[in-house]
């Protein structure tokens, strides 16, 4: 079946602009995660959605980062006023129980 999809695959933006990254999870998966992969920090957890519960935002690095999940399916990660240190690959994963399946990621470059 279809896996986790993310769009865009690549995004280049100027410092100070806002960006939106999209994730389509596997159908039927109730949990959705966002992670960030960067050279300096490795793989870091950002935010977690489980069903209709309030999201766990404990991994978000600053208040410029936010995410929402509409209808328990598609999720959007928004970064406001992007900075150069936001350059990274943003990975989305969905899961049933504890087994997480990852999308291909969005490579964000802030110039």
């Amino acid at each position: 079946g279809a896996g986790v999809s993310q769009s865009p695959s690549n995004k280049v933006t100027e410092k100070g602009k806002d960006v939106e990254l999209r994730c389509d999870p596997i159908s039927g998966h109730t949990a959705l995660y966002w992670y960030r992969q960067s050279l300096g920090q490795g793989l870091e957890f950002l935010i977690y959605f489980q069903g209709n519960s309030a999201p766990d935002k404990s991994g978000l690095p600053s208040d410029r980062f936010s995410a929402e999940r509409t209808g328990g399916s598609v999720s959007t990660l928004t970064i406001q006023r992007t900075q150069q240190e936001d350059s990274a690959v943003y990975l989305c994963a969905s899961s049933v129980v504890r087994e997480q399946y990852f999308g291909p990621g969005t490579r964000l470059t802030v110039t």
């Binding site: 986790v4 992670y35 793989l43 957890f45 404990s58 504890r98 087994e99 997480q100 999308g103 990621g105």
Partner: protein, 115 residues
């Protein structure tokens, strides 16, 4: 404190030789363990997982791993590697606690298979 450690950042190995990639963790609660592989410019692919039961788990592409609770380890092994196994390998741990079941990742081991 809860942490995941991959001691080897790079492991070169000749084709058809065996390989072991090491992973250790620190936790005061029960854990669930995973190995992921990442090929260049791709996302993470699940290789294998330990959730419960037998401590020896087998995964895709001929890989296996053994959960050793006393040594807090989950080393990944393959008896004979192929060129196509060249990739980055990540050990990941989910801690049995309330709240998010997010994964904590090691820093990765780059496996290079030499012809």
């Amino acid at each position: 404190a809860q942490s995941v450690t991959q001691l080897d950042s790079q492991v070169p190995v000749f084709e058809e030789a065996p390989v072991e990639l090491r992973c250790n963790y620190s936790s005061s609660v029960s854990v669930y363990l995973f190995w992921y592989v990442q090929y260049p410019n791709q996302g993470l692919q699940l290789l294998l997982k330990y959730l419960s039961g037998s401590t020896l788990v087998k995964g895709i592409n001929g890989f296996e791993a053994e959960f050793n609770k006393s040594q807090t380890s989950f080393h990944l092994r393959k008896p004979s590697v192929h060129i196509s196994d060249t990739a980055e390998y990540f050990c990941a741990v989910s801690f049995d606690q309330t709240g998010a079941n997010n994964l904590f990742f090691g820093t990765g081991t780059r496996l290079t298979v030499i012809p």
